[in-house]
């Protein structure tokens, strides 16, 4: 077994990037994820790779576009305002079907907002963000261990589907110190990239990479192909965790930082005879609608807990499809709900449902 070390979340993301065989990183500084850059600026040049501090997030994502076109594994990281700037490039990456990994250590918005943890970019990450009919795979770790495992996994998913894979963390996870158990050796699958533009000398005919097609028939076909690929991802890649869901009175749905708090709330609730289930989506897209829907007849209500004004709640409602009441509890501005706040809310909801 590999080494077990105490590390900061952002450093673990950077280490996972290297372990996944990604030697090219392009980024622009923004809190609360700057440690990723600090780590990689030291390590990647040593390994013969690229660390490049770009002039903007727009440039950084387009450097990712170029590096991926050339056939390399490549990553960029940023936080909310920077991710907004990357949306043009993200749409192009989807259109050109390029593999890429984007880390979003989410902070609070809108605008410049604040640097404290948030989950207010859920819509942007899962419903679009940029223009066009496209999807990104979105992974939501909730521990430093998972930051490691899911960051490594994101490169595999990106290559496998020729898609952008986003790892969505938040400021508190990026800054948190926790033990992480690294593998001795990563199990990296190497994908053939006959489509890459890495010089036609290696293949004898020219390739081009593009997202434009002015012929309506052809462009519709491109879109249908993209959609077929997205259906395939929905079939194969959904991930979630269920805790204490058997005989739950109420099902709390939450991911990332908020789902960590819930684990303690479950214990506290048990002491007063309430059975709280936790359904934690790990893939925010594709969303585990079916798995969540299985609980509709068993629990009295659903409660989505988020660091937002209520974004994932819309997916919870889609899953539940009107068969149960869906409630929302959220904090904003960088506040994180306390266990007591959450337990009080659960008691309130159950009292209301029992009437």
């Amino acid at each position: 077994m590999g080494e077990k070390v105490l590390m900061k979340g952002n450093d673990v993301i950077a280490e996972a990037c290297i372990r996944a065989g990604c030697l090219h990183y392009f980024g622009y500084p923004i809190t609360p994820q700057t440690e990723i850059s600090h780590y990689l600026s030291k390590r990647l040049p040593e390994l013969g790779g690229t660390f490049l501090q770009a002039e903007s997030e727009i440039a950084a994502i387009n450097m990712v576009y170029g590096a991926s076109s050339a056939g390399a594994r490549v990553m960029t990281s940023s936080s909310s305002p920077g991710i907004s700037l990357k949306q043009e490039g993200i749409s192009y990456i989807a259109g050109a079907e390029l593999p890429a990994v984007v880390i979003n250590v989410v902070r609070c918005g809108p605008g410049l907002g604040g640097i404290l943890p948030g989950q207010c970019d859920y819509f942007q990450a899962t419903k679009g963000g940029g223009h066009g009919d496209y999807r990104n795979i979105v992974l939501a770790p909730n521990s430093v261990q998972e930051l490691y495992e899911l960051t490594v996994k994101s490169f595999d998913l990106a290559d496998k589907y020729r898609m952008l894979c986003m790892v969505m963390a938040d400021g508190s996870m990026g800054q948190m110190m926790e033990a992480v158990q690294f593998k001795d050796e990563e199990d990296i699958q190497v994908y053939d990239k006959p489509w890459a533009t890495n010089g036609m000398g290696c293949r004898g005919h020219s390739n081009f990479i593009t997202s434009v097609n002015v012929n309506p028939d052809e462009l519709e076909k491109v879109n249908l192909r993209l959609q077929a690929k997205y259906r395939e991802v929905e079939k194969n890649e959904i991930r979630y965790e269920e805790i204490n869901c058997e005989n739950a009175d109420i099902m709390v749905v939450s991911y990332g930082t908020t789902s960590r708090i819930m684990k303690n709330v479950i214990k506290e609730a048990k002491k007063i005879g309430i059975n709280v289930g936790l359904f934690r989506p790990i893939t925010l897209w594709p969303y585990p609608y079916e798995a969540l829907a299985k609980h509709t007849d068993k629990v009295k209500a659903f409660l989505s807990v988020e660091l937002s004004a209520g974004q994932m709640i819309e997916d919870v409602r889609l899953a539940v499809n009107g068969k149960s009441n869906c409630y929302f509890y959220g904090r904003m501005g960088g506040h994180i709900p306390s266990q007591k706040e959450l337990l009080d809310e659960i008691i309130r909801i159950l009292e209301k449902e029992d009437k």
């Binding site: 090219h24 440039a59 387009n62 450097m63 050339a70 010089g199 081009f208 997202s211």
Partner: protein, 248 residues
């Protein structure tokens, strides 16, 4: 005797979509000839812009990546950092390079990226039907300056080559024209040198080509060539701005 159509190996045997008298085709051909002469078809990667030449991969027979509007220099940077021994160039119009993409072009120059840029300055937004470009001349009529570019209102044209020559990472800059055979030859010489500078790993090289857009200038192909001589060359000037003495 069957007529043999002589065209560079690096150019596909296709009919241009460009308007008659447009410089894009001429510059494509020059690039194709230079790539053949340097024997780099197998290792060159071009970055296409957003503009009339957005799909130049339909004509170039080597690897090409189509970039977002103005972002070609950043895309090229990503490619070159992954493949440092390949020859990477961007092909960009004046809207692409001198308006929306100014940050990206200045920073490849500042970083001294070992890249080459072919800058097609036709003083107009060709593809979107003739709006004012940053390089539109004073008094020039466009679809968004219907009474002519009033510098007091719209500001002044940007002299990109002069600006980029100031950057220490830029090693070669030349402004050329394609309005007659003599100038086409000079343009080819400059473009070839720009690629050789990259091959030698010296830094960033750029060739600005004063170009025509007969359609949006609303001039005939012949009058467009004359318009370059009468208006663009007096304003911008031709010649080398940096790296004249470098031998490659």
């Amino acid at each position: 005797m069957a007529k043999e159509r002589l065209h560079p190996k690096s150019i596909k045997d296709k009919v241009w979509h460009y308007c008659p008298g447009c410089s894009h085709g001429i510059v494509h051909r020059i690039i194709g000839e230079v790539i053949d002469e340097l024997d780099i078809q197998g290792s060159v990667i071009g970055i296409a812009p957003v503009g009339c030449s957005y799909n130049n991969y339909e004509y170039f027979d080597f690897d090409v990546i189509q970039a977002a509007h103005g972002r070609a220099p950043a895309v090229a940077t990503g490619v070159k950092r992954v493949l440092p021994n390949h020859i990477v160039f961007t092909y960009q119009g004046d809207g692409d390079l001198a308006a929306i993409g100014t940050a990206e072009i200045i920073h490849v120059a500042a970083r001294g990226e070992k890249l080459t840029t072919i800058f097609i300055n036709n003083a107009i937004y060709g593809m979107t039907s003739g709006q004012m470009a940053p390089t539109t001349l004073p008094q020039q009529i466009t679809t968004t300056t219907p009474t002519g570019r009033d510098t007091a209102y719209h500001g002044y044209p940007i002299r990109i080559s002069e600006m980029l020559a100031l950057q220490e990472g830029t090693v070669f800059v030349e402004r050329v024209s394609t309005h007659d055979v003599k100038h086409i030859r000079q343009a080819k010489k400059a473009i070839k040198k720009a690629f050789k500078i990259q091959q030698a790993g010296l830094g960033f090289s750029l060739v600005e080509v004063l170009s025509t857009c007969p359609t949006n200038w609303q001039l005939s192909p012949v009058d467009s060539q004359q318009w370059i001589v009468d208006n663009m060359i007096p304003y911008y000037g031709l010649g080398n701005l940096k790296g004249k003495d470098i031998k490659v």
